[in-house]
């Protein structure tokens, strides 16, 4: 049973209404989950039908001439080849590659996990790729804002269920949650996390770290 993004989120994505962070989380979900992909295709068909049904404005001959004048110097491009995988990052779906740079590096974090920050200059969401070794957990925490999670490799389990490759989870965790990477796959769990606001750590030691989290140091 796969975990799909809520339909209204897929619609906002198909309509181009999501900020870059959540849009990237959904793009990864769509790239890995055929049902989400199909749903977005259908929504895009709705967009196409709406575009076609616009009351016909008069053709703009001047704009057409201007466009035609540029075509000689504008080649029709060959279809794109899928981008080359980065060694060690073969699990990364195509939409993620432009954000990884040429030589991404995992950084060890307090709490026993690793991460790669993803910088989105035009968006206030905090975006990170997390890697958890099998059986390892994230510190117990809850969210002030929305949290979008897309699993890209392995899987994890928390109080809300088990999530595998292509699954999408959306918080606010009304209650604290403590995701633990699944052991069965024998591979680390790698997921993209998009946070509206810094998370709040709630475990016995976690509170101490909150000021650091707020400053974006953790």
């Amino acid at each position: 049973m796969s975990h799909l993004a809520p339909e209204e989120l897929l619609l906002d994505y198909a309509a181009g209404a999501l900020p870059e962070g959540p849009a990237l989380a959904v793009a990864l979900h769509v790239a890995l989950n055929p049902v989400a992909w199909r749903t977005v295709q259908d929504f895009q068909a709705v967009g196409g039908a709406l575009l076609d049904s616009e009351p016909a404005p008069a053709p703009d001959e001047f704009a057409l001439q201007r466009a035609l004048a540029t075509l000689d110097s504008t080649p029709v491009e060959a279809p794109p080849v899928p981008p080359k995988a980065i060694p060690g990052f073969e699990w990364a779906p195509a939409p993620l590659l432009p954000y990884l740079g040429s030589a991404p590096r995992w950084r060890k974090q307090l709490g026993g996990f690793e991460s790669i920050p993803v910088r989105l200059p035009g968006d206030t969401h905090r975006v990170e790729i997390l890697r958890l070794m099998p059986g390892r957990g994230l510190p117990q925490h809850h969210h002030n804002g929305l949290e979008y999670t897309t699993v890209m490799h392995g899987g994890f389990t928390d109080s809300t269920g088990s999530y595998g490759v292509g699954d999408f989870a959306i918080g606010p965790g009304a209650q604290d949650h403590e995701p633990i990477a699944d052991v069965d796959d024998g591979v680390p769990c790698i997921a993209m996390i998009v946070l509206e606001q810094p998370i709040v750590l709630t475990g016995p030691w976690g509170r101490w770290f909150n000021p650091l989290v707020k400053r974006g140091w953790l």
Binding site: A15, G48, A63, L68, P93
Partner: protein
């Protein structure tokens, strides 16, 4: 009027032989519609003109990537225009990541090839079904697609509770998707 098949033929003519006459026919039909779509989204006339122009030239450049078994021509052009709008909004100091590379081109590897053959029929059905929606439903759907608004923003603007907007969109989309899913299963 341009049928879905005619529009697809035109895009393929551009891909096969850089057919400018085909481009002109497409441009006359879609150029002004794309501009109108962008203006509904709040662009001023000048910006909409510029972005629509870029979108139509993108249709030329990317014609060889168009796959009529995957999406109807109108759907494909919609996604290009939408991505151009996103690029335009996000344009900051750095070169924009070309959103169409990930919003349009890639699909899951496991995707069932048989289903994509239905793209043309899906589109035709969607178009018919849109005609059957109530005015209330159509207005929320139009806002969602054309005005670049999230559900929350639509609710504020229509002075409706978020739940009402969600359920209207859900109802409208639910009707569309029920029919589509049934057809895909057949």
């Amino acid at each position: 009027m341009l049928t879905a098949d005619e529009a697809a033929d035109l895009i393929q003519a551009i891909a096969a032989r850089q057919d400018k006459a085909a481009f002109a026919t497409l441009f006359r039909h879609y150029g002004p519609r794309v501009k109108a779509f962008l203006m509904r989204g709040g662009s001023d006339s000048e910006t909409a003109q510029e972005v629509a122009q870029e979108a139509m030239i993108m249709v030329w450049r990317k014609a060889a990537s168009f796959d009529r078994t995957r999406a109807a021509a109108a759907t494909w052009i919609y996604t290009i225009a939408r991505n151009k709008r996103i690029d335009h909004l996000r344009r900051t100091g750095r070169p924009p990541i070309e959103t169409e590379d990930w919003l349009t081109v890639f699909s899951p590897e496991e995707e069932d090839a048989d289903k994509s053959v239905l793209a043309g029929q899906t589109y035709t059905r969607v178009k018919e079904l849109l005609g059957g929606l109530s005015a209330d439903q159509l207005v929320v759907i139009q806002k969602a697609f054309f005005e670049d608004k999230t559900h929350t923003a639509i609710a504020e603007e229509l002075k409706l509770p978020l739940g009402t907007v969600k359920s209207r969109i859900r109802l409208a989309l639910g009707r569309l998707r029920d029919v589509l899913e049934k057809e895909q299963e057949e």
